[in-house]
């Protein structure tokens, strides 16, 4: 029987600074020349042997065969150590774990992608995939916001996204520091929904961000007559084993590491915590 805890060594081949505290790491397995087979929305457990392990979304498109990427923000001690890594350093990878965005259901549908803060990370792979397979999907609307312009992640990808046909990208921040030119929106991400032109009857909504943001977004989507089953969210909890055993990530009877992190809204509604209660 396989030991499920074995982490496979992977080498960092590139690091891109996204914001002051967030970097995107490009990784390749050292033992086999291959990337990772996964669905956007899934996560790996990244190990710094001797230090610890943590769950991180896979942020590259699954169509990139040789490499895979993680976008990691410095928040605590493990991410602090990761932040000090350089190109050429090796980490341990086990995964992929969890449920991904329902890409199969999204074929030929319009996609409404809504994110806040570092919540755009688990959606980036999906966006890149929709851009590369442009004919597989309908119109794509991306609505993304952060606290300030300097907190937006993946800014070097935006021009690439914008240059694909029928992609709309709307941005907003809570505050604009003096002296910064900002022609985009100001305010909560929910305000961007007014720009949506897609028909909810033929669209899926994918949402990731702080729970309070997701709650308001879901509410607005339901008012716009999005069907509950067409709304998907990515939940976050502290995870350790990734295999529904250590008990840490449970929300009600569900494990975020295996039943999630991507849940459909009806699944979230069935959980006992009223997490995204969008009472109308």
């Amino acid at each position: 029987m396989k030991n499920p805890y074995i982490a496979h060594p992977a080498i960092i081949t590139n690091i891109r600074q996204e914001t002051a505290e967030t970097k995107t790491y490009t990784l390749e397995f050292t033992k086999q020349k291959r990337g990772l087979v996964f669905i956007p929305g899934q996560f790996n457990m990244i190990s710094l042997l001797g230090f610890g392990e943590g769950p991180f979304s896979i942020t590259s498109s699954p169509l990139r065969k040789e490499i895979f990427e993680h976008t990691i923000r410095l928040v605590g001690s493990l991410t602090g150590q990761i932040n000090r890594l350089n190109v050429g350093d090796i980490v341990g990878i086990r995964g992929p774990y969890g449920s991904g965005w329902p890409v199969g259901l999204a074929k030929n549908k319009d996609l409404l992608i809504i994110a806040g803060g570092v919540g755009l990370a688990p959606l980036r792979g999906l966006i890149d995939m929709a851009i590369e397979q442009r004919n597989g999907f309908g119109e794509v609307e991306i609505m993304y916001g952060s606290r300030k312009p300097e907190n937006l992640i993946f800014t070097s990808d935006y021009d690439n996204w914008r240059s694909a046909p029928n992609i709309r990208l709307f941005l907003t921040v809570d505050e604009v520091p003096k002296g910064i030119e900002w022609p985009y929106g100001q305010g909560v991400v929910t305000n961007l929904l007014k720009f949506s032109k897609i028909n909810p009857a033929n669209a899926l909504a994918f949402i990731c961000g702080p729970e309070i943001m997701m709650r308001f977004i879901v509410r607005s989507l339901l008012i716009r007559e999005f069907a509950e089953k067409n709304i998907f969210v990515s939940m976050e909890r502290r995870m350790e084993c990734g295999m529904a055993k250590c008990g840490r990530c449970m929300i009600g009877p569900k494990y975020v590491c295996t039943d999630g992190p991507v849940f459909s809204y009806p699944e979230v509604k069935a959980l006992p915590h009223n997490l995204l209660a969008a009472s109308l």
Partner: protein
């Protein structure tokens, strides 16, 4: 058998797909002596800037083979005057009014949009992005997809009105610009604006225009415009207003076939004041002669 000429563009219903190109019609005062302006699909006003502009030094226009060069320089009385005098005048025609705006900074575009909020009679805003961007060292906003996207955004987040972006042809890849402005939330695109050109007087050895170069318009540019409309129609889903050298209904039909939902008439107005009325009638005749009942049966129907 009646023919339907009405189209919907970015949410605005037009009773026919013909309108003037900005800058060739003023506010319609001069032309209302020749025909009922209310018969047009929409009226597109001369470009408005935040502050009044004197424009360039004369000579500012000259004729070329099958066309003309102009370097007027966006002369206009400014937004305040426009709102006080031109807009109320245009409202009398009871047709959709598209306000064409320009600025030298992103903030100017944003400000004009904010000032137009809640103003009665304004049906849509058309962004003139051929202006040089002061902050970017004078590069026209429309010259790069990044700048075009930013200026569209500056307008988009400051208005709920339908937003049309007028694209300049003086770029390497107009489709990329079109995609960029659509990504920022443009509801429609209009193309093309004028092509940069020059004419030198071989007797005086001097350029004909005081500004040296100017924008070329008229029949000479029509093939370029048709090509660009066709290219852009392949790559974006938003409606297109075709502009460039349309003199007759036959010219207009080419644009519809290439993918335009509506057309704007510019230089032709200087030669024949009733050109637009003639074109409307001509389109109707073209359709009924072929047994077609709806202008939309032509849009994008070029056979490859």
């Amino acid at each position: 058998m009646s023919v339907n000429l009405s189209v919907t563009l970015a949410g605005i219903k037009l009773k026919n797909p013909v309108m003037p190109a900005s800058g060739t019609f003023g506010a319609g005062r001069e032309f209302s002596e020749f025909f009922d302006v209310g018969r047009l699909g929409a009226i597109v006003a001369k470009t408005v800037t935040l502050k009044p502009r004197e424009g360039n030094m004369p000579p500012r226009i000259c004729e070329t083979t099958s066309g003309m060069l102009n370097s007027i320089g966006l002369q206009n009385e400014g937004l305040e005057y426009f709102l006080k005098h031109d807009l109320p005048y245009m409202r009398k025609f009871k047709i959709p009014i598209i306000v064409n705006i320009a600025g030298n900074t992103l903030e100017e575009y944003a400000q004009i949009c904010r000032d137009l909020k809640g103003i009665e009679g304004v049906s849509a805003i058309e962004l003139n992005i051929s202006c040089p961007n002061i902050k970017a060292g004078g590069i026209a906003f429309g010259a790069s997809s990044r700048l075009a996207e930013q200026v569209t955004a500056a307008a988009r987040y400051n208005t709920d009105l339908p937003l049309i972006v007028k694209l300049t042809p003086n770029v390497y890849n107009i489709s990329k610009i079109a995609r960029a402005v659509v990504s920022a939330g443009a509801d429609a695109v209009s193309l093309i604006n004028t092509l940069v050109g020059m004419s030198i007087d071989i007797n005086t050895f001097k350029p004909q225009l005081a500004n040296y170069t100017g924008g070329l318009s008229g029949p000479a540019i029509k093939p370029v415009a048709v090509r660009m409309v066709w290219e852009v129609a392949q790559t974006v889903n938003v409606p297109i207003i075709g502009i460039g050298g349309i003199m007759t209904a036959e010219d207009a039909i080419e644009f519809f076939l290439a993918g335009a939902t509506a057309v704007a008439i510019g230089t032709a107005n200087f030669i024949n004041p009733t050109a637009m009325i003639d074109i409307i009638n001509g389109i109707e005749r073209f359709l009924s002669e072929r047994g077609l009942t709806d202008i939309r049966q032509l849009v994008g129907k070029v056979r490859l």
